[in-house]
Symmetry: C2
Subunit: 350 residues, 2 copies
């Protein structure tokens, strides 16, 4: 297929913004476009790629609301244009001498499309086959979820051996890496998730010390009393709302709460979100709560890649992908992030 | 009176805990005790003092609830015992050679009583008359409110010249010092308060750039849009609840929110407190929210005293006391903190 000059490329575009609830086929639509991959139709310093892997992450939800100044404060996908996500592509044509056909590249804002023509500076990382890391790992431990886990635990959480760490959405893409990273730092790690299968997986394969099935133990306050007799030192926040409120009744003095995201809150306008009533506890317990976006930590990307790449090489980190197939699975893949149907990081194999 | 060996001393004691609302005469009662100040009835390494000034601060409210693990997480005053506060006393008898009769001393946990006998190590600071600072200033700019303002603005807020700073409860003891300190750092400072008199005072005598009268502009969100066209970089939090929620809709990226206290929330059990629904904004704007208690910053007390003492000497800081007279004014003084009846720091002149 790399030799073909004209392709039909399926792509996902933003048809209408979705303020409430999970985006549906009213909001995200698919279309087929014809693309010329002939060398002379590709501008200088551009590349043509075939998408191999596309990362599906919760923050994308916030780019589909049409409201700029809300929540994650990310730019909105323009209406009628193809949406973008973190991805791995294979170069099929290159007008930049740094890249040749067949190279695998990581692209932070890769079109959710089968083929694309992009400026070569859009490439985040060129994958070195000698590293023997699966390309999909660049969307996981070495991608958005791994980086979010590392910034939250290592940079903001500053874990000390023996500390007690709580991870919400622990079987999600970020949570399962964050939990393992905290274990590698010598912490005691408790997660929460929504099924017995996930509880078993997190304990047996990912080394969590304890895992709460919040469907079986709906009184989180009681569960936290049981699993954290010595209180919580670090809470890696993925969920928001009532979970955060329960945690604030169990924090130790000087607790750190890195705010990676609040998945329970993305699908509501803010006035309908769950209020947290016990922030006063942050005063007495001198809690440090810190929101973060990866774009502000790019200066540490090298440290991150070295540390996490090392763990992968030494097989100290286990990773788990939920692989959906084909561009058209994007809509269901997005939706699945907001139910508890997934285990691990959701990716699309194109 | 210093020569007298026996005194009748009026004191305020905790008769019953008060969970909700402002403590009343059911909770705080007064009694007169007889005290021998004869030298041989004072143990070695102890001093007898006559109270001159007593500081009345909002955090004291949290020592009167009977609930240890709530809010400020401070120890509760034992039932039937005299309560304590930050104060200035004059030594009337000394069994420690470091102190002599007539010395003025600052005591962090001074009984709310006319006279007391205390271990001399209870003394926080011996006032040097050569400094020419009024003793009451040790309860204000150089005391709890000044220290809270300094830790919040200087240590946690890390102000840069030109930044936009919002101070709630700006005419309160802490707020009026915090605002002046931020001005001294080159910031633009907007406060909120509850009367036109206070607005005028804060602008004309304390140098605030703008002041919101929240009774005249009850839509705080609209007021913040008007007074912060360029957003908020530092919010010095004294109030909590709906005020914090409104601020979180106006924060700039990397905003800092030192949590000094949440006076709107002390008189409620936590489940009845106002929920903050838009914490998700902390993620996108990468906000740093940090609760603090002065006990964790004592290693910086020297830096604080040097800086703030310097401003006082150079007359760069204006201070304002609301002086109530006599031990028996303690109950009304406490209550007045939770209405907007005061301007400035509340102290009792015994």
């Amino acid at each position: 297929m790399e030799g073909v000059d004209n392709v039909e490329s399926k792509e996902c575009y933003m048809a209408a913004y979705s303020r409430d609830g999970v985006p549906s086929s009213d909001h995200l639509k698919f279309r087929i476009v014809s693309l010329s991959l002939a060398v002379d139709s590709i501008p200088d310093d551009h590349i043509a790629i075939r998408s191999l892997w596309i990362s599906v992450d919760p923050y994308l939800r916030s780019r589909m609301t049409g409201v700029e100044e809300d929540g994650l404060n990310v730019t909105q996908f323009p209406i009628n244009q193809v949406i973008v996500s973190y991805g791995v592509g294979k170069i099929v044509k290159s007008k930049d001498e740094k890249y040749k056909e067949g190279d695998l590249v990581v692209i932070a804002e890769m079109p959710v499309a089968e083929y694309s023509v992009l400026p070569s500076k859009a490439v985040t990382t060129k994958i070195d086959p000698a590293l023997e890391v699966s390309p999909s790992e660049y969307l996981n431990v070495l991608g958005v979820p791994g980086y979010a886990a590392w910034v939250g635990i290592q940079v903001i959480g500053k874990p000390k051996a023996g500390e007690n760490v709580f991870i919400s959405a622990a079987a999600g893409g970020v949570g399962m890496i964050a939990g393992q990273l905290a274990k590698l730092k010598g912490c005691r790690v408790v997660g929460s998730t929504g099924s017995d299968d996930k509880v078993k997986l997190l304990k047996e394969e990912f080394g969590f010390d304890e895992v709460i099935n919040y469907k079986k133990e709906p009184d989180l306050d009681a569960a936290l009393s049981k699993y954290f007799p010595n209180g919580i030192d670090i809470y890696f926040e993925n969920v928001g709302g009532k979970t955060l409120e329960a945690v604030l009744n169990h924090v130790n003095t000087y607790a750190r709460i890195p705010l990676s995201g609040m998945i329970s809150q993305y699908n509501e306008v803010w006035t309908e979100r769950e209020g947290v009533r016990n922030l006063l506890n942050m005063v007495g317990k001198e809690v440090h709560m810190q929101g973060f976006m990866l774009r502000s930590y790019m200066h540490l990307f090298g440290d991150f890649a070295t540390e996490m790449g090392g763990y992968l090489k030494e097989q100290k980190l286990t990773s788990k992908l939920k692989i959906n197939k084909g561009i058209e699975s994007f809509l269901d893949s997005m939706g699945s992030l907001f139910t508890s149907s997934n285990i691990g990081k959701v990716v699309i194999q194109v």
